[in-house]
């Protein structure tokens, strides 16, 4: 089932390359059909997922490089099942959105599908090498998508994005090998299986450098302050369907990496450096929010608000307790939906008005009442109004930070920073929403129309999820919670520290 989820978009991508691009209807059917099918499968996995069970489920396993015992092993737990669902949903939505645009490029669609497959693979891989491969697979389509179809200084943006990310991921490759060697030294079994490796106790000094290597890869991908400088350029240049996948799903791979690797593999290092990273994350969330206040370009406003929200997510992860981690995973899902919806709205406004400058738009409410309502709901979710999904996540994260034992003295400061961030979020989101929609404007073009049915259908799922998670977070938190508990309490059964290893032999 999981292998199918990855295979379908890849096969569809190949098929799209092969068929003549004049056949618009067929292109449409393949692209939409495959991404829709993936979403249905992902939803099926979500429904079939046993949330009480913290183990990996739907595991698909076969040998890949048998000499090195590298396996093609996929599986989902409570964290990844939500991410898979999110990715499939966003990919489906952005492809749908792209197909409703004017020019449809077959190559674009094919690359989008490859990107989708890459992200899905990252979330499902249970083998470090396989994880690394998918990690790089994500990068290639993203490079071309931004480089060919982007706007502004797109080559600079995409080059910066790819090189910056690559630096991190190469460090990660080193650490991946390091972890396996550490395991090999203790047991003389060569394996890249994540589930086996997490039980290995790595000596503290080794933990630190390996942790930093993994951390760099994920920190750049998320990105957290101060490794975020590719983001404004890449987000600014990326076309909206790509951007939705980038911010909604790809940025989550970084946060997911923290949860999948950094915490279970290197608990001591995470404990030791948690408060530093939380400090970076907390700085980043204020930093992003503060810059967002100064933005006049709505696309970069939303981009910087993403920096802020992603900081929030990472902060929760490094609280290193149940609430913080649950909140972070839930917030990953929430932010994926909210940010994606906001970027769609940015693009709709840009297409209708021909400008993204906030000072150019005013008083759209009169002409676009439906968008007004939807936009208001999403704004409220983005600024963390209680009762909507954003708040549940933020509340859990801050509660986790407040009670976190690993950052005892600094916890209060981080929570206060979180409070300031929420206040800033209210300011910039209201600047955006009120500035665009309210007040009086006589100069609006007369042929301005409200959003059409297709656009409503696209934004509607976001609205439903925003309200649903806000009111009934339990099914989601119940899915996440056993897994996070498991991750925080993994037992180290394989000892590799030098003193112990002698006794083993």
């Amino acid at each position: 089932m999981l292998a199918l989820i990855i295979a379908i978009p890849l096969i569809a991508a190949i098929a799209l390359f092969r068929i003549p691009s004049e056949n618009k209807e067929l292109v449409r059917k393949i692209a939409l059909g495959s991404s829709g099918l993936v979403f249905l499968l992902a939803f099926g996995v979500f429904l079939g997922f046993d949330s009480a069970n913290s183990a990996m489920q739907f595991v698909h396993e076969c040998s890949w490089v048998s000499v090195l015992n590298i396996q093609f092993k996929l599986g989902v737990d409570g964290v990844s099942v939500l991410m898979v669902l999110l990715t499939a949903l966003l990919a489906c939505a952005s492809i749908f959105y792209y197909l409703n645009g004017k020019d449809v490029s077959v190559t674009f669609l094919a690359l989008m599908l490859v990107l989708e497959a890459g992200i899905l693979g990252v979330f499902m891989a249970l083998d470090t090498v396989l994880f690394y491969v998918f990690w790089e697979v994500m990068l290639i389509p993203a490079y071309f998508l931004i480089g060919f179809w982007g706007e502004g200084d797109r080559v600079y943006a995409t080059t910066k994005f790819v090189i910056y990310t690559l630096v991190g991921s190469l460090l990660m490759l080193v650490a991946i090998i390091g972890v396996t060697i550490a395991h090999y030294e203790a047991t003389h079994i060569l394996t890249f299986d994540i589930q086996t490796l997490v039980h290995t106790e790595i000596p503290k000094s080794d933990q630190i450098w390996m942790f930093i290597c993994f951390f760099m890869a994920f920190a750049i991908k998320v990105p957290i302050f101060p490794f975020h400088s590719w983001l404004p350029h890449a987000y600014g240049a990326a076309p909206i369907p790509v951007l939705v996948l980038l911010t909604g799903a790809m940025s989550k791979t970084g946060a997911y990496g923290f949860i999948r690797f950094c915490l279970p593999l290197f608990p001591d290092a995470a404990e030791m450096m948690g408060f530093v990273i939380a400090g970076m994350a907390a700085t980043g969330m204020i930093y992003g929010a503060w810059i967002a206040i100064a933005q006049k370009d709505i696309k970069s406003l939303v981009a910087y608000s993403s920096v802020s929200h992603l900081g929030f997510i990472v902060l929760g992860i490094f609280a290193l307790n149940d609430q913080g981690l649950d909140g972070s995973v839930l917030q990953m899902f929430n932010h994926g939906i909210i940010a994606a919806a906001l970027f769609f709205i940015v693009d709709i406004l840009e297409k209708k008005l021909g400008s993204r400058d906030l000072s150019q738009m005013r008083g759209l409410k009169g002409k676009m009442p439906i968008l007004y309502g939807i936009f208001m709901l999403i704004t409220m979710a983005a600024l963390g109004l209680p009762g909507l999904n954003g708040f549940v996540g933020e509340f859990l994260i801050l509660a986790g930070v407040w009670t976190s034992s690993s950052m005892s003295g600094l916890a209060a400061i981080y929570v206060l920073m979180g409070g300031l961030t929420i206040t800033f979020a209210a300011i910039y989101m209201l600047f955006f929403f009120q500035g665009a929609m309210q007040e009086k404007n006589e100069e609006l073009p007369t042929d301005l129309t409200d959003i059409d049915k297709k656009q409503i259908y696209m934004l509607l799922p976001a609205c439903v999820l925003i309200v649903f998670i806000g009111l009934f977070p339990k099914p989601f938190v119940d899915t996440i919670s056993p897994t996070t508990k498991h991750i925080l309490t993994i037992e180290k059964t394989v000892k590799t520290s030098k003193g112990h290893s002698d006794e083993h032999h």
Binding site: K160, I163, Y164, P226, H228, S229, W230, P232, Y287, W290, I291, A292, I293, A294, Q295, N321, D322, Q323, D326, G327, G363, K365, G366, G373, M380, L383, L385, P386, G387, F391, V392, F395, L396, L398, A399, W402, T403, V415, L416, G419, L420, I422, T423, A426, I427, L430, Q434, M437, Q438, E439, K440, F472, P473, K474, V477, D478, S481, K485
Partner: protein, 625 residues
């Protein structure tokens, strides 16, 4: 008591229904639908009241109705539950009762507005949120309700979205309230950390055992809760949004910014009285801020010309009195003033609305005058409201305010300074309340083209009903105190009688009225005659009129620096700092490879020489070493 859920569900249904189908049903039907849901809520509140009264006093507290298990994360669990006790029912009576009257009034007031369906949807949303706030059985849903009333207030202040000033006022109110929400959230974390639970029942049961009075933790928790309370109830220093909030339609001002939402802060202190009793220092602060706000707002109200702003300042001032009451520990006295205030302040706002309506949306009292003849019902009801506001003997305001002033002399946590300030505030109240009254109803009309007329009956009936309560509600004081007593540990506040003090209090209030009469009995400034008060107060008039320059001060100290810093971080920190460093790393790598590439001379013979030299070197290495 499961039917109490209907109190919440009805307005929610109203909101959902009106926002989805509002534009598809006849405009005439929108108002009645909106009223019916709130009326239904009021009905069920009455049933709950009777139900509670039928119980033994001891059983009336702690009735928690759980709907479902809401969330479970680690050791943090929470049910979706509501709490029915005398305090919440008392608040609900005000919310749904006064709310219902204001809904009815709105049918007339908003009749011609094209977006009347949205308006009623928002009003229903507000009633729903406010009910969540008071019915919450734990701090989490308190915060949810807290933020939702903020949202409803935001939506209704900015209801006329085409009006720039309304949009800005709405934004200001929202941001100020978010600051309050953050304070509450932090308080909730501290409570969770210390008590392992955030339901009222667990926390209030544990608190007295776990903490001594004035424990640091207790002080911090109560202070963070206060941030929320002060932001919502427009107390210094978080008060600046309330006068601006008058940009919204007048029924909104009556409902949200006078009768119900702004009193949430008082409710919060009363609800958490167990915690506040353990933090006498915080109580002191509550009382001090309350009484200072009472005075401060009163002084600003004396010189304003916008009829709604004057009433808004009086609201702030009366809220100050309520905070004084709860701050000195006489909770049910404060709650009772909350109720009478809801009656007479809603009455005043609706009266003002009636005036504004008939003057074609004119709010400046300098342009009114002489409305006595043309609007008799409004005139008399407004008079009653004004008298009640001033605490004129035997009106509702007299009983409730008098009790606060007397308690401020006698209560343990108080001191004579509070009493003196409270008295001074009462004098101001008399003055500004009657100033507005004389300005609007006496003399002759100062706008030639206006044709003031009495409002339709749908607007005057609510006025009459509220006027009735504004006069007679005061006699219910003993009933209210004994009804609320179980919540506040069975304490019924003593009724202090001291003829001398009472005479002082009433005397000061009356002298305020008399001063107003001296200056304005002829209907305020007539043509060519300047404002007598303005000359008298010349040195400080501007300071008062510009609201002590606090808006300007906040702009200079907070708003502009935040914007400038944002700009600075973006332009300098981000683009010239972090981004520059990253680009520079790339540039340096390039530079280094340029240096290395000098080795690549492009000359074949040099390559060959290198190759051979290398081979020789390796050979030497292998053979001889």
């Amino acid at each position: 008591m499961f039917y109490t859920w209907l109190i919440l569900i009805l307005p929610l249904l109203g909101f959902a229904g009106l926002s989805w189908f509002g534009d598809r049903i006849p405009k005439k039907l929108v108002g009645p639908v909106g009223c019916a849901t709130v009326g239904g809520s009021f009905f069920f509140t009455l049933i709950a009241l009777i139900h509670l009264l039928s119980m033994e006093p001891g059983e009336r507290v702690g009735n928690v109705q759980t709907l479902y298990h809401w969330i479970q994360s680690g050791n943090f669990t929470l049910d979706l539950a509501i709490l029915i006790d005398p305090l919440s029912v008392f608040m609900l009576l005000v919310i749904t009762g006064v709310g219902f009257l204001i809904h009815v009034y709105s049918i007339g007031y908003m009749e011609k507005d094209p977006n009347i369906d949205t308006f009623f949807a928002y009003l229903n949303l507000f009633i729903f949120s406010m009910s969540v706030l008071v019915l919450a059985a734990d701090f989490f849903f308190l915060i949810v309700g807290w933020a939702f009333v903020g949202l409803a207030s935001y939506l209704l202040i900015g209801f006329w979205t085409e009006k720039t000033s309304a949009v800005f006022a709405a934004r200001k109110a929202f941001v100020m309230n978010v600051i309050g929400d953050v304070g509450m959230v932090i308080a909730a974390f501290m409570i969770f950390e210390n008590f392992g639970s955030i339901t009222y029942m667990d926390v209030f049961a544990q608190a007295p055992e776990k903490f001594l009075a004035n424990d640091d933790t207790m002080l911090l928790i109560t202070l963070f809760l206060l941030v929320g309370a002060f932001a919502k109830s427009a107390q210094i220093p978080l008060h600046t949004w309330l006068p601006d909030a008058m940009e919204g339609p007048t029924p909104v001002s009556a409902l949200i910014h006078a009768a119900t939402m702004v009193t949430a802060g008082v409710y919060l202190v009363a609800r958490c009285h167990v915690l506040y009793d353990l933090a006498p220092y915080t109580m002191m602060l509550v009382a001090a801020v309350g009484v200072i706000t009472a005075l401060f707002a009163g002084s600003m109200g004396m010189v304003q010309y916008d009829i709604k702003r004057v009433i808004a300042y009086s609201t702030m001032s009366q809220l100050g009195y309520m905070f004084l009451a709860v701050g000195i520990g006489v909770y049910s006295v404060g709650m009772f003033h909350l109720m009478t205030h809801a009656f007479f302040k809603a009455l005043l706002f609706l009266g003002a609305g009636s005036v504004i309506h008939s003057m074609n949306d004119e709010q400046d009292i300098r342009k009114m005058g002489g409305l006595k003849e043309s609007m008799p019902i409004t005139y008399y009801t407004f008079l009653i409201g004004t008298l009640a506001l001033c605490g004129f003997p035997l009106t509702a305001g007299y009983f409730s305010k008098e009790a606060i002033i007397m308690s401020s002399w006698y209560a343990e946590g108080s001191n004579p300074v509070f009493w003196a300030l409270a008295i001074a505030g009462a004098g101001m109240t008399g003055f500004y309340a009657f100033r507005v009254f004389f300005y609007s109803f006496f003399g002759t009309c100062r706008t030639a083209e206006a044709h003031p007329h009495e409002s339709p009956t749908i607007m005057t009936y609510p006025l009459l009903i509220l006027a009735f309560f504004a006069i007679f509600a005061g006699f219910g004081a003993p009933l209210a105190h004994s009804f609320l007593a179980p919540v506040f540990g069975g304490v019924v506040p003593e009724h202090h009688t001291n003829g001398f003090l009472e005479i002082i209090a009433v005397g000061v209030a009356l002298s305020g009225i008399i001063v107003a009469a001296i200056f304005y009995a002829e209907g305020g400034e007539a043509e060519g005659k300047s404002d007598g008060l303005k000359e008298l107060l010349a040195p400080i008039h501007d300071v008062l009129f510009r609201k002590y320059y606090i808006d300007e001060l906040y702009d200079v100290l907070i708003v502009q620096p935040v914007k400038k810093t944002g700009e600075f971080i973006w332009k300098t920190g981000e683009q010239k700092g972090i981004d520059f460093v990253v680009d520079e790393v790339g540039a340096q790598v390039k530079e280094m490879s340029r240096l290395l590439s000098i080795w690549q001379s492009g000359k074949v013979r040099i390559y060959a020489l290198n190759m051979i030299a290398g081979t020789v070197f390796v050979l030497i290495f292998v053979v001889f070493l």
